[in-house]
Symmetry: C2
Subunit: 321 residues, 2 copies
């Protein structure tokens, strides 16, 4: 639930004069997204999303995020499109925060995605990877190996509060991943956070991808490993190989995986499970009791991590040769 | 910030088949209202508000609230209109909660209302009182004298935690109001919560009143006393008589006050200040530290109450004869 900064009408109207967006009719804070404040605007022209970027987002990264959305939309990917100001800038300022107006994408995220949706997500992820080619800006992945080590250094002394033995288990995992992380897979722009709440559907058709605020440059197949973690496990913790198969098939129907990518997939799945485990663990330990944030359980990702540790080859994810 | 109950697309679509509302295109939880869960829906026909009534709202009161909105809208008041189901019912059920679809009203609530807006609010309040005539259902005001006594009984032992001496001061105030509360003023349907966030404006024109979930039968001029408390004090706690004058003038331009109402106004202002003081005090004392609710400061209304205690006649609120 996210409205950290309230805005008043006068400031908003002044902000809107910098755009060709029509007359303001209404604005409502919306309870989605956890990093920024988001408002749904109705104007005489079209509905819009107004995003105010809060402190957790690095201001220097905003041109990458907004430019990427433009680049992807230009290449036919259905994603929110930042509305340029009359002076051409994609980024403005409102209520003391960097702010952008972004096209409103109709569609709904699925609370209970099914196999067919996983196939669509695989396809869309690959389409995004292809569309991202040629994007000029770069952003290193702040939540890759070095970032994990930093998070772990800040959490490990208290990790056993969450489950006894965690300090040793995660320390070993990090050492394994540091030693076995692949070095030479195909790279490009990845979404890095393509969870169900970031994919919209209209009926059973995928209508768009949103929330590019973790996007960065990394191994493309690492993005697929994030999606396998985010979409293909059931509530009881079991991996659903039918979903995994559909997602990988969907992905390969647009961008076939190389032999090296297929071999690396189990290690990358361990890495992405660890990545979400570590950010959740950190938030879990550091968020003051009763803050206005719903804490996500880090143990969900610990279970996934343990599953991946048992996986020998990508066939176990449903990859068919 | 209010989304207490999440809904999934399947349930929502099944719910919508009971209405003639077009195809669902999107729904977003909105961060407004504190009692219920609210979603903004886009359909192929029109935008709508979906409200899920949470436990704090008495289910037996819903026909009063929804029927009242219908009654007022039928008589030309600009307020949200419940969309009837195909079977004529105004109330349905979704995700285990009573639920209603309500027309979306364009407009914005003012973070910094000015004198001219207070005049419009006075006019609209009186227009609502007139439009409410003939509404068949009744709902006693649960937050009148007896309700205040009940709240006070649950809070008074801890009142001095908030400010020393409060237990005695508020005890005396309640005794005064019980002895001097008027008995024979004009009654009707009142809004009972017409704060700035419940009044929408488009430019400087009032575009509608919302949130009728405290509406009830009581003295009409008591509603005006609530609005004087809610709109006519500045952030520093000072009463702005220019705003009060405009609001009372606006009210009387539609429904002139009787001599008895004018005489009673200072006592009613004490009552309404006490009413909001008591609910805020109760929430302040009872809400667990760190719950997902922003606690409003009860002392704001203690200051207003003390101001009203010094008022001798309605002229001090800006009422001109």
């Amino acid at each position: 639930m996210a409205v950290y900064t309230d805005i008043n009408e006068g400031d908003l109207k002044a902000f809107l004069t910098q755009y060709d967006a029509g007359e303001l009719l209404s604005y409502k804070g919306i309870a989605e997204g956890v990093e920024n404040s988001n408002f749904l605007l109705h104007t005489s022209k079209f509905p819009l999303i107004l995003t105010l970027y809060e402190k957790r987002v690095e201001k220097n990264d905003l041109p990458f995020f907004l430019g990427l959305m433009h680049h992807l939309a230009d290449r036919g990917l259905s994603c929110p499109l930042p509305l340029p100001r009359k002076d051409g800038a994609l980024l403005g300022e409102l209520s003391g925060r960097p702010a952008a107006l972004i096209s409103f994408l109709e569609g709904m995220w699925l609370r209970k995605p099914e196999v067919k949706h996983c196939r669509e997500v695989g396809r869309a992820l690959a389409a995004m990877h292809v569309a991202g080619e040629g994007f000029a800006l770069k952003r290193p992945n702040a939540l890759a190996l070095e970032g994990w080590k930093g998070l772990w250094a800040k959490s490990k002394d208290r990790a056993d509060e969450v489950e006894t033995g965690l300090e040793e288990e995660i320390g070993n995992e990090l050492a394994f991943l540091a030693a076995h992380w692949p070095k030479d897979l195909p790279q490009g722009v990845i979404h890095a956070d393509l969870f169900p709440d970031n994919v919209f559907f209209l009926d059973d058709e995928l209508s768009g991808l949103i929330d590019f605020y973790f996007a960065c440059n990394d191994f493309l197949v690492y993005d697929l490993s994030i999606c396998l973690n985010a979409w293909c496990f059931e509530k009881d913790g079991a991996y659903n190989i039918t979903k995994g198969m559909a997602m990988i098939e969907g992905y390969q129907s647009v961008r076939p995986l190389s032999e090296a990518e297929i071999t690396a997939l189990p290690t990358l799945c361990r890495g992405s499970a660890l990545r979400f485990f570590l950010t959740r663990l950190y938030d879990w330990l550091m968020t003051p009791a009763g803050a206005l944030v719903v804490k996500k359980d880090p143990l969900e990702y610990l279970k996934k991590l343990r599953f991946h540790r048992q996986v020998a080859t990508s066939a176990e994810y449903g990859l068919i040769r």
